[in-house]
């Protein structure tokens, strides 16, 4: 009889091998960028243009993520917790832009915000086309369908019985939502925020279409990557890409730390890998 059974059975081994393949591939991908970008990185950090676009990227990605969540959370709530006519249809309309090329979404935005409606907005001081606002808008539109879909899925997984119990203890719908539904979908929401923010940083199809790429005005890091690539300046381009990687790295560290599972919540913490 095998006394000390190997810790890895075949299936586990298989998953670990796949993981190693994915990691190798991912590292190669990253290295290919970093190796090209590294020699120009110092230069990039000294460039005012790059510093401007770092700020603009962080600013727009953050604001668009906030807007996305502010729209998506109520929408996901309404889609999963209330009943109104044509709900399924509404849901499909909301999710339809999922597979649109970002370029098309950008063009669509350009058409909408160049219409009389957009002109009216502009005269009221809310400029979108060729403006920072447009970057935020483009990122929001690109992300919203996903974000809604993921938060909806998360809310659906929450045990509604706990919400009922919370209600019977005196919590209004709003309080039930804040104290039960939201905390119980915390992990999915953190993941979705990371998605939205990362996509905000990396998006350029819709942005270029709606706001163009005016240096030092609407130039995000990603636009900078694009412009430098178009100029033939691959080094500077990869330097900008490396900056994005660094930002991404920091944000992943931070969110990993926030999203850590509370091991105190069950008896299982000690029990991994039987």
């Amino acid at each position: 009889m095998r006394k000390r059974f190997s810790v890895f059975d075949f299936f586990e081994l298989f998953t670990i091998i796949i993981t190693i393949i994915v990691i190798i591939f991912s590292s190669t991908l990253i290295l290919a960028i970093v190796l090209k970008g590294l020699p120009y990185l110092g230069e990039a950090f000294y460039s005012e243009e790059v510093r401007f676009s770092i700020k603009l990227s962080l600013y727009t990605a953050t604001i668009s993520t906030v807007i996305c969540m502010a729209l998506a959370i109520p929408t996901a709530y309404a889609l999963t917790r209330t009943s109104f006519p044509f709900k399924k249809l509404c849901q499909i309309i909301i999710e339809l832009p999922l597979s649109m090329p970002y370029l098309v979404l950008g063009l669509s935005l350009l058409i909408i915000f160049s219409s009389d409606f957009g002109k009216a907005l502009k005269s009221m001081g809310f400029k979108v086309v060729f403006d920072k606002n447009g970057i935020i808008l483009a990122q929001t539109v690109v992300n919203l369908p996903y974000v809604i879909r993921f938060i909806r899925t998360a809310f659906e997984e929450v045990d509604e019985r706990l919400e009922f119990i919370s209600g019977s203890l005196g919590a209004t719908k709003w309080e039930r939502f804040i104290t039960i539904t939201l905390p119980l979908s915390k992990n999915a929401i953190i993941t979705t925020i990371i998605l939205a923010w990362s996509r905000g940083l990396g998006e350029f199809g819709a942005t270029l279409m709606l706001v163009g790429a005016t240096r030092m005005k609407t130039e995000t890091l990603t636009t900078s990557v694009y412009l430098n690539l178009a100029t033939g300046d691959t080094g500077a381009s990869m330097a900008s890409a490396t900056v994005i990687l660094i930002i991404s790295l920091i944000s992943l560290f931070v969110t990993n730390w926030i999203g850590k599972k509370n091991t105190q919540e069950s008896r299982m913490k000690d029990v991994k890998s039987w």
Partner: protein
């Protein structure tokens, strides 16, 4: 006659193949009413119905004269101890217990005071910082009890509230609940499998048989003879044993 707290009239509901049939029950203010019955006979469904959990039924359930489903959930002021506890997994025992107080915007000290009082009554002081996932069965049950009791509800619905407790702890619980009942003056409707418990605690007892509530009577008269054969059969097992001891 004293004021009625819960009135159930011609209440019927179908859930899958199971039917709760034509329930009629009047529970007075401050009364303690116990429901006995075989497993799967519909006791939990009855309690859930009183709490206004279901929407498609016939007949009516009123609490203090108001249709229960017309009262917004958060205004019903019903304490419910669920058979499977229904604790909030992401909150500590302390946060679970004081949940209702937090919702009512009570200040920290008040919450602390009440939680400590509850913890003492139910002897769960040592687990206030644990999460429900780490608790023992009996600890979960008492946490669920504490969460419902802390709000001093007018109506307390308890679904087998002592089933996970050892006899010694149970005894203490009976005394504590009786004391609470006296102080708050709440009405209690509870389900149990323990005839002894029903007799100790309740003023009246009803027996649920296949979705029908039968043989409602004073708890002292529980073992008096019944017309209904099903009830007799249900009680017989226990009676036999009681005799042989």
């Amino acid at each position: 006659m004293v004021n009625s707290m819960v009135e159930i009239k011609k209440y019927s509901i179908q859930l899958g193949k199971f039917k709760l049939k034509n329930i009629n029950l009047n529970i007075c203010e401050k009364e303690i009413f116990a429901v006995l019955g075989r497993t799967g006979s519909g006791k939990t469904v009855l309690l859930e119905s009183v709490a206004g959990f279901y929407r498609s039924f016939s007949g009516e359930v009123t609490i203090q004269g108001q249709q229960v489903i017309d009262i917004p959930l958060e205004k019903r002021e019903i304490g419910f101890v669920y058979q499977d506890f229904g604790l909030f997994p992401h909150m500590t025992v302390y946060d679970n217990i004081t949940y209702g107080l937090k919702i009512r915007r009570k200040d920290k000290e008040y919450k602390k005071k009440m939680a400590d009082r509850m913890a003492e009554i139910l002897s769960i002081g040592h687990i206030l910082n644990q999460y429900p996932g780490t608790l023992s069965g009996g600890e979960r049950q008492r946490t669920a009890l504490a969460r419902a009791l802390i709000l001093e509800p007018k109506l307390l619905l308890m679904d087998e509230p002592f089933s996970s407790l050892d006899p010694a702890t149970k005894e203490t619980m009976y005394q504590q609940i009786k004391k609470i009942h006296e102080i708050f003056g709440c009405t209690i409707l509870f389900v149990t499998h323990d005839f002894n418990e029903a007799q100790i605690m309740a003023d009246r007892i009803g027996i649920m048989v296949n979705g029908e509530l039968k043989g409602i009577r004073k708890s002292a008269d529980l073992f008096e003879s019944y017309q209904d054969e099903e009830i007799t059969e249900f009680l017989s097992g226990f009676q036999e044993r009681r005799m042989c001891i």
